[in-house]
Symmetry: C2
Subunit: 87 residues, 2 copies
């Protein structure tokens, strides 16, 4: 069964205070500076569907439940077991 | 300058109540069931470094600031502009 990774961020035109806070904190804490920092949600899950059915089910749950499509956008992909962020 | 995406999840052996809540809610709300749901953080940022220098800077900020390495693990990759989650 495919394992799906979903990334959710505030839309580009929406202010992201958490990203701004990270961006401003990095140099002061002794880290390499970064720009255009955005902070959002990452989900991984196993979904029992394939192909077009998988795409339509994942997009339906993203648009109806996992994100707020007014202010957030998302991107999803199928990942291998060794691409899990908790691997 | 490379754009970096960082995914952070609780380690696999740590209970993820938010993932559990999503998993339990999906079927009741009329969505396709999913299993092994994990919910974490997704960050995107532009970092002015390349190659080994980029890797060492990103890993240092992940381990020292962006994650709690006791309970969280992360994975990072360089993404193209059209792979941005807010694209």
């Amino acid at each position: 069964m495919p394992r799906v990774a979903i990334d959710v961020l505030l839309k580009r035109e929406i202010l992201d205070p958490q990203g701004r806070a990270v961006e401003q904190a990095l140099p002061g804490l002794g880290y390499h500076p970064a720009s255009e920092v955005r902070v959002g949600k990452h989900l991984e899950m196993v979904v029992d569907a394939d192909g077009d059915e998988l795409a339509s089910q994942v997009e339906r749950m993203c648009e109806g439940f996992l994100t707020n499509p007014v202010i957030e956008s998302y991107r999803w992909r199928v990942i291998a077991d060794d691409e899990r962020a908790d691997a």
